[in-house]
């Protein structure tokens, strides 16, 4: 049984692929630049999928495999929620659910100098930005945006953090606003932080609001827009009785 190669690039787009599926055959496409995103790798002339997911394509030449998993692969400029596991003189070691622990330099804060180094206990939840991800090195984080301002990054106090998949995080961060967040926002007042690494933080004045929001978000991964709105309505009805 030989390999089934899609000679025309359009045949597997928006289809589910599994590891080993050849999605593009480069020998048929000369003089083209192709950008490979996550989930694809090159084996001589064949581009194969290495994850199970949906093959996506945007013009002019970007291909990638979209999938949802519990672990996270760090990419620069991602905003993630990390947990401090150790602090050294130069860096904090932060767990971001990736293949390696990440480093947060003690000076990577707005107005950070050697005199005002923050003290984070082990277990502190931080909203951080991924700065560098070189292969073989631990990823580097920062609590400032690209221009050096705090922009909301830093420790998250109180509230409740739960873990989900990377797919749900991406959905909650998509624009226009995801239906479940819209529906919840109409009736309840709460604060959230979403990490692309599958961690979500919710904070509100009353604990019952935190629980409602957390449950609604956890249930919404596989629901369509209408189903999400119905689910939130039913949840709020039950609570108001």
């Amino acid at each position: 049984m030989g390999t089934e190669v899609s000679t025309s690039p359009t045949s597997l787009i928006d289809q589910t692929v599994v590891p080993g599926d050849v999605v593009l055959d480069l020998s048929n496409m000369t003089n083209q630049t192709i950008k490979l995103g996550s989930g694809l790798f090159q084996d001589n002339d064949a581009i194969s999928a290495m994850r199970a997911g949906k093959l996506r394509y945007t013009k002019p030449n970007k291909y990638w495999v979209e999938s949802s998993h519990k672990r996270y692969i760090p990419r620069p400029e991602d905003a993630v929620l990390g947990i401090v596991v150790d602090s050294k003189s130069d860096n904090f070691w932060v767990d971001i659910k990736g293949p390696q622990l990440a480093l947060l330099p003690v000076l990577a804060f707005e107005g950070g100098t050697r005199r005002n180094i923050p003290k984070f206990e082990v277990g502190t939840l931080l909203y951080v930005r991924v700065v560098k991800t070189n292969t073989g090195m631990n990823p580097e984080l920062s609590c400032t945006d690209a221009s050096g301002k705090a922009a909301g990054f830093g420790p998250l106090k109180d509230g409740f953090m739960f873990e989900t998949s990377t797919g749900l995080s991406r959905m909650l961060l998509s624009s226009p606003t995801c239906p479940v967040l819209e529906a919840l926002g109409k009736k309840l007042s709460f604060e959230t932080a979403f990490g692309l690494n599958g961690r979500v933080w919710v904070h509100a004045a009353a604990p019952r609001v935190v629980i409602i929001v957390a449950n609604a978000l956890m249930n919404s991964e596989t629901l369509s827009g209408t189903q999400q709105r119905i689910m939130v309505e039913k949840l709020l009805e039950k609570i108001s009785e």
Binding site: T3, V18, P19, F41, P99, M171, S174
Partner: protein
């Protein structure tokens, strides 16, 4: 004893080239990053994958720029007819090594340097072909965890009794004293990653039995692809338009 009757039926009513029923399910262990249950007839195996995560024991790391793959195979004490005395014996150590080598060949370890991938395999019911079921379950669990793989590793066994090659031996046929050939292949790349045999076979007979096992592997690969595609469709998150 007659393992194949004159009409060509085996002890459980199968023909020589019929496999046992396959049942597979993904995402069964909620704590694990990836998990799967794989059943071949009465043989039932559960696989749980943790990773890629930070290396726990640096002394185990042999190849610096590759992920460390650890595998543990164990049989539950209730998995066989008579309650097993020890969970870990020489056979378990050998199978752990063999399965680790098979999966390591399939995982793109160079993409995740300085990280660790743990594969735990537990046999819940043993009725022959446990190592094949374990490899198939591990492939599903690794795909569920989103660990990059070059192809799906699939495995099947075949034997030779009453002068007939037989596909997918169960425990009774396996203990009959004939040869038992276990084959592990990467179907799209058409490469063999595992080949084990106990007892002896003449070369021509071996080639027939090997070809039969490979056919069985291809059928299992189809089934595994279906299960992964089903699972991916269910997990699909809604993209903003």
């Amino acid at each position: 004893m007659e393992y194949v009757n004159p009409e060509g039926l085996r002890l459980d009513g199968r023909r020589f080239n019929e496999m046992r029923q396959i049942v597979a399910e993904v995402g069964v262990v909620s704590k694990a990053d990836g998990s799967a249950v794989f059943e071949m007839g009465n043989t039932k195996v559960i696989a749980a994958v943790y990773g890629p995560r930070e290396i726990q024991n640096k002394s185990l790391q042999k190849k610096n720029d590759h992920a460390l793959v650890l595998c543990e195979y164990s049989m539950a004490q209730f998995s066989t007819g008579d309650r097993r005395r020890q969970k870990f014996d020489r056979r378990s150590t050998e199978l752990s090594l063999v399965i680790r080598q098979t999966m390591e060949a399939c995982i793109l370890t160079e993409l995740l340097p300085h990280s660790q991938i743990d594969i735990f395999l537990q046999v819940l019911q043993a009725d022959g072909g446990t190592r094949s079921a374990c490899i198939n379950a591990a492939t599903l669990a690794l795909a569920d965890a989103g660990i990059p793989m070059r192809d799906l590793a699939v495995s099947c066994s075949a034997g030779y009794l009453n002068s007939t090659p037989l596909l997918d031996l169960n425990y009774v046929e396996d203990s009959a004293g004939g040869a038992d050939v276990t084959v592990g292949i990467l179907p799209k790349l058409d490469k063999v990653t595992l080949l084990q045999m106990d007892a002896k076979l003449p070369m021509e007979t071996f080639e027939t039995v090997f070809a039969l096992a490979s056919e069985g592997c291809k059928a299992i690969a189809e089934r595994i692809r279906e299960v992964l595609q089903e699972n991916t469709k269910q997990l699909e998150y809604r993209r903003a338009a």
